[in-house]
């Protein structure tokens, strides 16, 4: 069989398969001896690369697979709907609530209340500009004190922190106690 035709068959088979196809199988389909087959596939793959085509042929063990060239992945990603991410996960929202009601607070205070590490949430809230560092606590290690920002007020459509609805006695009492423990 003509080399050109073998190439086309390989192209059709690799495309339709979508998966990796063994050299053996390709050799059987094209009725070409396996060494010739391998050199044809390599030649085809080289041409794709040389021409900077959108697709490439990769070798996976003794199999060949068609794939998009990595260079174009940013374009390819545009065909799928972007995943909408809720900017505030539940954990982050909790951390934000603690900061809003108890500001200024340190990381350790927040962690005492929530019982878990809050670094990611604090980082995310800083990124979103909802909180900011307003100073250092006068305590060993001089931990940062966090407060909510004007952006926070805008996002939650309130004029000032004092407008936050009061939380019930119980809810206040417990976190305060926990915070005090945290300070020690």
């Amino acid at each position: 069989m003509e080399i050109r035709r073998i190439e086309s068959i390989i192209e059709a088979v690799l495309f339709a398969s979508g998966d990796a196809v063994s050299a053996e199988k390709l050799s059987e389909i094209t009725q070409t001896d396996i060494n010739t087959l391998r050199s044809v596939v390599t030649g085809l793959a080289d041409r794709y690369t040389y021409e900077k085509r959108g697709i490439k042929i990769i070798k996976v063990g003794d199999k060949y697979q068609m794939a998009t060239r990595g260079e174009f992945s940013e374009y390819v990603r545009q065909i799928v709907e972007p995943r909408r991410r809720n900017p505030l996960s539940k954990a982050t929202l909790e951390v934000l609530a603690i900061i809003a009601y108890k500001q200024p607070v340190t990381r350790v205070m927040i962690e005492k209340i929530r019982g878990v590490n809050c670094d990611n949430s604090v980082t995310r809230l800083l990124e979103l500009g909802l909180i900011e560092e307003t100073g250092k606590l006068d305590a060993p290690g001089r931990p940062s004190l966090f407060c909510t920002t004007d952006e926070f007020l805008r996002s939650f459509a309130i004029d000032s922190i004092s407008e936050l609805p009061p939380i019930t006695e119980f809810i206040i009492e417990e976190p305060v106690q926990a915070m005090e423990e945290a300070v020690e």
Partner: protein
């Protein structure tokens, strides 16, 4: 009579049957010999019954229509009467339309053979981009709910520790610490203080409680001895046994 054995042909519907009869009789769609065709149509329906095939209402509707057309055509025409439309026209139009779609179906069948030679592939897994939703969907209620949830979680934490009473002094925990320092300072100077003097100049209940807690703390730390004397309850200074600075934290052990 010759015994005719035949397989009853199945038709897609009454129009399919009519087209079959018309083509079998080699007549034009536009000049249907309505009597003959109606007769053959009715024969077919009785054949269906004979073969125990259910005759659907659609076949009966067309049968009624054929009989109606036949009767209309049998009516004598009077001279001078306006030429009426051929009662077969509507039926012919319907048959023609249906016939065209039967042809189109044959065309599609041929196309399908062509389409079956083409293969496609499945979509690759493509990692979607992440886009932050706007913050405008989040309200103060979310904050309050989050806070309520935190309270719920706290309720199930470890039992409340003995030092919970410190909550009584509100946020001013530092004041207990500062009171400890203040009391120790006066004690190191004066060596002894009347218990009541500790509360001199106290401005709030919180401060008073803090002062009291400071005394308790010092007793626990063995930095103060409580003595009953003529002057009332007196706190006596005890020299720090350990060298080094005052360590509030150590007292918790």
């Amino acid at each position: 009579m010759k015994q005719i054995s035949f397989k009853l042909e199945i038709f897609e519907g009454p129009l399919d049957l009519l087209l079959h009869l018309i083509s079998k009789n080699k007549v034009s769609l536009y000049d249907i010999p309505i009597s003959d065709i109606t007769e053959q149509y009715m024969d077919y329906l009785s054949e269906m019954k004979h073969f125990d095939i259910e005759v659907s209402s659609e076949f009966l509707v067309v049968a009624a229509n054929l009989l109606y057309i036949k009767s209309k055509m049998l009516l004598p025409k009077y001279e001078g009467e306006q030429e009426e439309d051929d009662p077969r026209t509507e039926l012919a139009r319907r048959l023609e339309e249906y016939k065209r779609f039967k042809e189109a179906a044959v065309y599609l069948m041929e196309r399908e053979a062509a389409g079956s030679h083409t293969f496609y592939k499945m979509r690759e897994y493509i990692e979607p981009r992440l886009i932050d939703e706007s913050l405008t969907d989040i309200t103060v209620k979310h904050l309050v709910d989050a806070m309520a949830e935190i309270a719920d979680k706290l309720r199930y934490r470890l039992p409340i520790k003995a030092k919970t009473f410190k909550g009584l002094v509100g946020r001013e925990i530092i004041s207990v610490f500062s009171k400890v320092k203040a009391v120790l300072k006066s004690l190191s100077n004066l060596k002894k203080i009347r218990f009541s003097d500790i509360f001199k100049g106290v401005k709030s209940r919180d401060e008073a409680v803090a002062s009291f807690l400071a005394v308790l703390e010092l007793i626990k730390m063995n930095r103060v001895k409580v003595v009953n004397s003529d002057e009332g309850v007196v706190l006596k200074y005890v020299k720090n046994t350990k060298e080094g600075a005052l360590s509030f934290g150590d007292s918790q052990d």
